[in-house]
Symmetry: C2
Subunit: 554 residues, 2 copies
Amino acid sequence: MSDLGIASRANLEPIQDIAQRAGIPEEALELYGRYKAKIDTGLLHERTGTARGRVVLVSAMSPTPAGEGKSTVTVGLGDALSATGTRTMIALREPSLGPIFGMKGGATGGGYSQVLPMEDINMHFTGDFHAITSANNLLMALVDNHLHRGNELGIDPRRITFRRVLDVNDRALRQIVIGLGGPTEGMPREAGFDITVASEVMAVFCLATGIDDLRERLAAITVGYTFDRKPVTVADLNAQGAMTMLLKDALKPNLVQTMAGTPALIHGGPFANIAHGCNSVIATNTARALADVVVTEAGFGADLGAEKFMDIKARFAGFEPSAAVVVATVRALKMHGGVAKDALGAENVDAVRAGLCNLERHVTNIGKFGVTPVVAVNRFHTDTEAELDVVIQWCRERGVEAAVAEVWGRGAAGGAELAQKVLAAIQKPQEFSPLYELELSVEEKISTIVREIYGGAGVEYSAEARRALERIHANGWDAMPVCMAKTQYSFSDDASLLGAPEGFTLHVRDLIPKTGAGFIVALTGSVMTMPGLPKVPAAMRMDVDAQGRAVGLF
Amino acid sequence: MSDLGIASRANLEPIQDIAQRAGIPEEALELYGRYKAKIDTGLLHERTGTARGRVVLVSAMSPTPAGEGKSTVTVGLGDALSATGTRTMIALREPSLGPIFGMKGGATGGGYSQVLPMEDINMHFTGDFHAITSANNLLMALVDNHLHRGNELGIDPRRITFRRVLDVNDRALRQIVIGLGGPTEGMPREAGFDITVASEVMAVFCLATGIDDLRERLAAITVGYTFDRKPVTVADLNAQGAMTMLLKDALKPNLVQTMAGTPALIHGGPFANIAHGCNSVIATNTARALADVVVTEAGFGADLGAEKFMDIKARFAGFEPSAAVVVATVRALKMHGGVAKDALGAENVDAVRAGLCNLERHVTNIGKFGVTPVVAVNRFHTDTEAELDVVIQWCRERGVEAAVAEVWGRGAAGGAELAQKVLAAIQKPQEFSPLYELELSVEEKISTIVREIYGGAGVEYSAEARRALERIHANGWDAMPVCMAKTQYSFSDDASLLGAPEGFTLHVRDLIPKTGAGFIVALTGSVMTMPGLPKVPAAMRMDVDAQGRAVGLF
């Protein structure tokens, strides 16, 4: 049965009931239909006081292109923790419309570990991404209007770094020329669209601790540079107020439920490459104010997702992660053990063993943040007992807590052992610390990540990156954390270097200061900020049935 | 006090209470916060049976650039009718975000005749426009992906007529070149963005009678032409299912309330030039199923708004308007009487009298549809009693029902007399018929409108329009009604020809078949489908205050 098929058979509770069990007072609830609600966090915090819940991050080993099921494990673990009587909340990213119409795939979990109503969550939801698109594009309309109306600030049209966004996979908008048609039609210049989740407004939205912090971060966004190379910010255009107004309702976190009735906050969804790849700080902190344990997720493998979660999100949000689940799959282990993509279905115990070097480095890395790792082997139907045993045995020998998770097929029951291991892990004394101090130079921060997390030997900067480093230094932006944009398939910047490569050099192509989000993106290799559609887009088979329900959505 | 100031002092009722009084069963209600709800019309119609309410259209004389307050009169009249004990509903368009950040001005009425919560309605509301933007732009991503992936249909990139949209005033996107950057980045071609309200998807959305009709109309949209000049439709790209899915929730009409607690449906908002300029058929028909009288509005003056309302909307929706209010103002009459814009504030009885020729033609035109006109003189604080008397006296002499409306300042009480006149008018026997039969040729339809409604002598077609006529004929599209795109300031296509010009020739520049919406747009003069921002956009003074409320919004 498809995820949508399973989801449509679920019995949803009215969201008011979910809210009540979660301790959310009715006056703080803004309903969006029967099964979705926004939470007025101002009204909530008057009631709940300070946040106190422990944060469990769900991350993963270096994944296969098909993904290892992090969202499914996050939901299943949340349900399994709930089943033990632990006050649990889940915090996840909102899905982008782009990939939904491109390739099959959402971000609402799968099988019997889904957040619901998955159809709504995957389509418009409560409109947050549309609000972000609007705020981003209002800013750009103001920028181009400024050029057209005399360019008082002296913005160099060749050095406008901010782009427009749409929540659609639209290759043809990557590189465009705008303002054509003569003097009444704007100032011609090169421009382009990114997908909404790649917008710095999205990153800002997800790192903001409240509406005032949101306005401040928006004001600090750099949109480009003047002819004499001075940064031009949103504050220079005085656009932060209108942008904040467009975002004020979106900033309230969205409450939904899992198939087992566990409350889940789904809010924000920044890219995991040019941004930090986790749900909003506001959602995580709201969940911490309501629950004893918050299960949340970060995009990509732990080298990217967990590192950024610790060094950017947790640092900015002011909480200390209590445990990190590293999702592993037999498939991914076999791939890292040298098996070709089309042979991953066949049993191969030796390859699993050979691929453990990848998992090992991720597990060790988690420890470097002073956080306890727990391995979750996300079981697929092609996995054999012998293969699973190798992983569990290996973990046991190294003193790493581990459990096989069967949450896709069995829901909470399939995550019971994992839940016990996680509960044990968060009881242990923690000594969380980010990997690096912000006072280090940008190069030192990058070197630290490459050496400590990636296992690489050194870093090489392109001429462009060197120039960017100089500008960053000249503008006094050195003290921001670094947001690595790197392939998720390898510890290195070469996607084909599987396992646990050593001695490699990481090539930094460019450095992009995101002064609103408050981090410096280090680009290694090419990063796609506007995906394209495949030859036969998934959109082709979608429709609405006679009962008004979505058809063909997963 | 500002409209926002007055609105923020209003006491809103929970939307469930409004719904209950309107006869909407609770199970048909989908809440969006406390004061907005979508109505599941499927569930509703099981309860209410066939629609029966009488439709009162609010239109206007040829307006001044500042507008004559049609929305305010619509809301005030609705409240005044409610106050008489008549079961009344109001149906209005949703406002576009574009003009809100450009110039001051919303579409939620004013003073003590507003729909609430005006702040929400003017900003994202329930996300309908964002859904329309998404559906429009998914279609265009599919079109450009088709070109990039081999162009099996043979679409001529120079003859793609459909454009992308954004709900923002962004001049620089009017004429652009997309697909630059080499073979992996799409096929280069000229393109452009319109504002969302100008999208044919918006027109389709507003004319659809249900989800199946929506899908059919979407499928019939022409996106461009092949190299051998055959139309390419949405159906050829098989995009109608996914587009319908993106629109399925948006298609449910939105319930809000006026300041006096009258239920109002605010749904859809097509342009009044290249589209028909009224709220959705679904909203109007839903209101007709619930109320005895439905007060609704059409954009621009009656030569455009009322004509299209009768000849396009009422014809497609299958209802017969029972009365048409023609909003007049002393200001507009003085302008048509020859007074310059900066002298409209001073008393000038003679000019008012001289300007009555404009009102007269509009009133006569309403009669040509077999609908009873009622003149509403929307009072402004600069109007004198002598000026108002001239208008009322003139109406009395001609046997036209008329009343002064003071709904901005006094709400329902200021519309009491107007309500009585409207109630009397709808009791009269009506013989509604559209102005022309669909079987006429396109030229005959246009000639009929120009002769009967505009008072013009003839029509001249540009060479481009002639070619378009041939293509329309060749494609068998003649039987569609015509949607005139003309300046709203004059009966002619010359905005400076005020009063009631005669003997003029209307110049049709081009004809655009909107095969999804089901009408042919006749372009006269230049029509702006993507507005620009002024030197100092209204966005600059907007923000959110410490209580989370919008500031600077009107």
